[in-house]
Symmetry: C2
């Protein structure tokens, strides 16, 4: 039977990618084998190399090739401030603003009871260690403004209680460049309450 | 810079999959590295093995581990009939019907001028060779009933002109189990013209 469907192992492996069902996996396998075998080789190598060489930064928990990532190695940043984000992509977005010069901590996830991700499954114990260095004075919560991101922010806030650290949250409000007419009501209500 | 984005090579490789943009690729890379490193290893191996060991059947052009696929090796089938399909998935669908006992030829694509796929880019020359064996009496066109599938069927029909081979096409009509009210008008019109 297996030789009747020689691409089956590849199709099954592709289905482990998030958002890829059996039809997409079949299309991908066919495309790679028929039109882009070079792409299949490149992807195979990239997967193996990522698994072999990418690790977590021992200070901020982001993905890195070294034991400590370039940002954490940069001694010129403001060590009193620690920005807590969900993912390396969020860290990259913060960096692109050019408005932040402190260090980061990457949770590598967010609390999501629906997906079985609790407070223990994200990097909270390591965050606690990181904050206990006596230098961090402010923890800036930059988790998403979604139910799950807010739950994560709440868990971090609770974790910091009783410690000599100020906990702040990114401001909620109307996005730059938007017309009020098209902004959702919850955002406007928040912006009104938090007006300054 | 590269160590700031250690997953970039993986993200770029994932973007070569059809239908995967940069956001999906980032999500896939993050998922594999953070939640399913075993999946990354499995996928890496499956890609490499597929590229290394899967080839085209020398008779019907489908994917196979051997020089000749199991269906073409099966001497008990009706050698007078050859069913032309676009992909191995279409071949599998025909087999699942249990209603066909002839052999197959898999074009591995269809004519699609929009994607730059012309008559020369699909397996037409090899089909011509296959049909020239003097045993095939009927070529059954089972390409898709889309513009591209019809164009492909037309190209095969032209190719067969002047040869001692009858060319037939799967019947167009109302799908089994459907209520007329919900069938598109083009299908009903075809079913009416081709009534029997």
């Amino acid at each position: 039977m297996s030789d009747l469907q020689p691409l089956d192992p590849l199709i099954q492996a592709l289905r482990r990618l998030p958002g890829v069902g059996v039809k997409s996996a079949q299309r991908m396998a066919f495309h790679l084998m028929q039109r882009d075998q070079d792409g299949a080789r490149v992807l195979s190598r990239a997967l193996q190399e990522a698994v072999d060489s990418v690790q977590h930064c021992s200070r901020c928990n982001t993905f890195t090739h070294d034991a400590v990532c370039p940002i954490c190695r940069d001694a010129g940043r403001d060590a009193a401030r620690l920005c807590v984000v969900e993912t390396p992509a969020d860290l990259a977005a913060m960096e692109r603003t050019g408005a932040y010069s402190g260090y980061y901590f990457v949770l590598m996830g967010r609390i999501s009871p629906m997906d079985g991700v609790g407070a223990k499954d994200i990097g909270l114990p390591r965050l606690l260690e990181r904050v206990a260095d006596g230098v961090v004075q402010e923890v800036i919560l930059a988790t998403s403004f979604t139910t799950e991101g807010e739950a994560t922010a709440h868990a971090v806030t609770e974790l910091m209680q009783g410690r000599q650290v100020q906990v702040t949250r990114l401001a909620r409000g109307v996005p730059v460049g938007s017309e009020l007419e098209y902004v959702d009501l919850g955002t406007i209500a928040h912006a009104l309450v938090e007006r300054r």
